[in-house]
Symmetry: C2
Subunit: 480 residues, 2 copies
């Protein structure tokens, strides 16, 4: 079975595709009680069924719009210099004071350049940073708010600050020194790391992966400005063809004639519980009257913590899931979301949703404990697992997005498949945590039949086998 | 000279009132650069000059409105049971499970009961708490946002939670056990102290006064619900007549025919730099065309840290400032703001401004480092001193308030008076910190002539003398 789009050339075709599992479980979009009466949510439900922007009753599908949902600020930001301008821009950049980016900064430059953070046009200046930290949103010129929950900032040290001096514009270079971009009309302001961490994560406990990677070692200043990128940012890792920009995704949804796009953010392998949820969402959208709902299966491609499964392995696993027929390639687009991961729970899930608005998704599936992890120093979840969906449902600037919370899926030992958890027969369900899944894969033990398609599972087993062969790089600990 | 309103009966009349100092310095309302071009701020400036709600050009002052500015949510919340209902409510409360409040909880019940936190109708339920922590605002039924930056929550311990069980309503009792209120349709949810502290203060460092007073010793659950107070909350400390509710303040502004009300939040004695600022603000409002701007001098009356000057001393000092003619009693209302103090800088200043909207103030003076203090464990300010006014100027739900940032005042050693600081002759200016002021007062040394009116200064000297006589209660340390 071929993938319609973005099929890696090195796919392994499975010998025994699993039958598709379409669940009969109901009401994945049920909202928590205190939110149900909320006027915005009533609006959302109405929007799903009948809005002129998203509803299937309009226009009889004959005039599919480039946008099922408008980008934040009304237009997609595109900060990549057009080809005719690149030589002059490079020449200009050569003469400017230079700031060296870390790998994670390059990922953010990529995010900004393609407009995932629209209407943001560059690394945040202080007034944007403060709005982000305090309000999780940015004021638009119209007076409305765009959601913006994670600071997208560029840290520089004292030496770089001195080098920039009073220059209005600076050149940005990658970790290897190659020129990447120009940052214009820059503003340099203090980087209060403690405050940034406390307000973003709701904790300052040591051991937060993004903090250790990108904040603690970074400089004590932030530099904001308008970004202009010399050329599209590529990683040359064999996966660039998966990295569709928001505009490319919107074009693809148009090409497929989508009348609803539902996004699924993930940073883990897809098991059949995820698939159950995605297929059930599609079923519900069809029931609502949509004729051609398209799934955007959208794995995060930037920085992740050491014990997460690496991107290339995940992409291979996702391909198997489509090959095995667990998800339908006809109605699924697999693409990479280039953002780094903060593991900042309710704060970060807003970013994950907001960026998908810009990519043209008008439905967003939110799971239990999105962007969560274990507390770095205490034996508990860092976030209340319900807060992600609650915060997301109330977030300023996300009113136009249809948010679909889902019920927990677990392994049903009676039906011998992944199913929506039923509290009335909780003893029948088996929760397979990430840690347990990794243990299965590492030890070569098979998970319960129906947990994951065989092709996808083999990818993971092969990965962990390769780690054990290499020996040195196996992560020492695994969070839940 | 008699005060027009709220004159305590024990006023000491000064022998030598200071001449009023009206400063010639300009532009106290100048905005920081990145904010100047902001559309909301342009709107504000326009509002100040010509809006039909606040502008003097309307109606020729003949039809003064009860509201120069609408309360948040459109109507002032009043949660005090009417007299005819109190006996029945008390009887009902007697039969309910009982929760005991700490002193600071009573202050919050007072704040809620009088509508300072309109549209909030009781201690926050979880959906309100989450919006407050993440967005510093609450969604209104209209779809708009009301500002709400500090969590107004009631913590209970495991025993109280068990006692409440599944009861829908509970009685609230004061620290001495007297019944105060009923909380209805309650919701109990986890009190994650670390997250609350980190998101409210931007630090989790030990030694935050409100945290030590009201969070660390509090229970691990929060109980939210609709509040109904048995009768107006009084403190019987000789200052209750200063505690005007938002409705009483609005009525007083009407009675005086105010066409602009500018609020000044403070928790410290008034020196002549403060007075310079307030008088300069009045001058500017008159220049804008307002005929009768009224100053709301609004000292905070709830919990403050141990080394702040206690409320009764401050009230006496403020009275002297009016008696000495430093502020004009004809155009000034002195009243107590019943809120406890968080010392949470940019987060708290929003609360201070929002509450004054509900009290009818349409102009708000914001100082350097509002609600700030020294970092509890590092030798620096906890907050960037400019962030308070920046955050306030961008805060959701405060668009209708005219925010007036002010320049720093210091002692001008040439003119021998408090004056707006001029960087070009910085050597002429002397900054008299709170610590230095307290040292003067404690040692009996006089501050420079013109720093504070003699009557007000004597109140402070007497206070510190009384502390030294008592010996034991002198605070050991003083923050800047």
């Amino acid at each position: 079975m071929a993938l319609h789009l973005l099929t890696p050339t090195h796919l392994h075709h499975p010998s025994s595709p699993l039958p598709r599992r379409r669940a009969a479980a109901s009401a994945t979009a049920t909202l928590a009680h205190p939110l149900r009466a909320h006027p915005r949510l009533r609006l959302r439900l109405a929007t799903a069924a009948s809005s002129p922007r998203t509803g299937p009753r309009r226009a009889g599908m004959s005039a599919i719009r480039s946008s099922l949902i408008d980008p934040d600020g009304g237009a997609l930001v595109d900060l990549v210099a057009p080809p005719g301008r690149r030589a002059a821009l490079r020449a200009e950049a050569e003469a400017l004071p230079r700031v060296r980016l870390a790998a994670v900064d390059v990922e953010w430059a990529h995010v900004l350049a393609e407009g995932w953070a629209s209407p943001l046009r560059g690394f945040m200046r202080e007034h944007e940073y403060l709005q982000c930290l305090h309000f999780n949103s940015l004021r638009l010129p119209s007076g409305g708010l765009a959601n913006m929950s994670l600071p997208i900032v560029l840290a520089v040290d004292d030496a770089a600050k001195d080098r920039v001096g009073a220059a209005p514009d600076v050149a940005l270079a990658g970790p290897d020194g190659e020129l990447l971009a120009v940052l214009r009309s820059v503003e340099i302001y203090p980087h209060n790391k403690e405050e940034r961490i406390a307000r973003t994560w709701g904790t300052t406990a040591p051991g937060l992966p993004y903090v250790d990677e990108a904040i603690t070692p970074a400089g004590n200043w932030l530099i904001g400005g308008d970004l202009e990128v010399l050329q599209p940012i590529k990683y040359n890792d064999g996966l660039d063809h998966y990295r569709l920009s928001p505009q490319q995704l919107r074009d693809e949804f148009d090409k497929r004639g989508a009348d609803a796009v539902f996004a699924f953010q993930l940073r883990n392998p897809v098991h059949n519980g995820h698939a159950l949820l995605m297929n059930d969402t599609r079923r519900r959208l069809l029931e609502m009257g949509f004729k051609n709902p398209i799934l955007l299966l959208h794995p995060l491609g930037g920085f992740t913590k050491a014990d997460d499964v690496p991107l290339p392995v995940r992409m291979e696993q996702h391909s198997k899931v489509l090959e095995d027929g667990v998800l339908d390639p006809e109605t699924t687009i697999v693409s990479i979301f280039p953002s780094p991961m903060h593991y900042a729970g309710p704060t970060e899930v807003q970013w994950h949703a907001k960026a998908r608005i810009n990519a043209g998704a008008n439905f967003y599936i939110v799971g239990r404990d999105p962007a969560g992890m274990g507390h770095p120093t205490e034996k508990r979840d860092l976030y209340n697992p319900d807060h992600g969906k609650k915060v997301l449902s109330m977030a300023p600037g996300l009113e136009k997005l249809n948010i679909l919370p889902f019920k927990v899926a677990a392994y049903d030992t009676v039906a011998k498949k992944m199913a929506f958890f039923e509290p009335s027969r909780s003893q029948d369900f088996l929760f397979i945590s990430g840690t347990k899944m990794r243990t299965f894969a590492k030890t070569g033990e098979n998970p319960p039949d129906g947990f994951m398609c065989p092709g996808g599972w083999k990818v993971l087993v092969d990965y962990y086998n390769s780690l054990q062969t290499e020996g040195a790089t196996t992560p020492a600990t695994a969070t839940v």
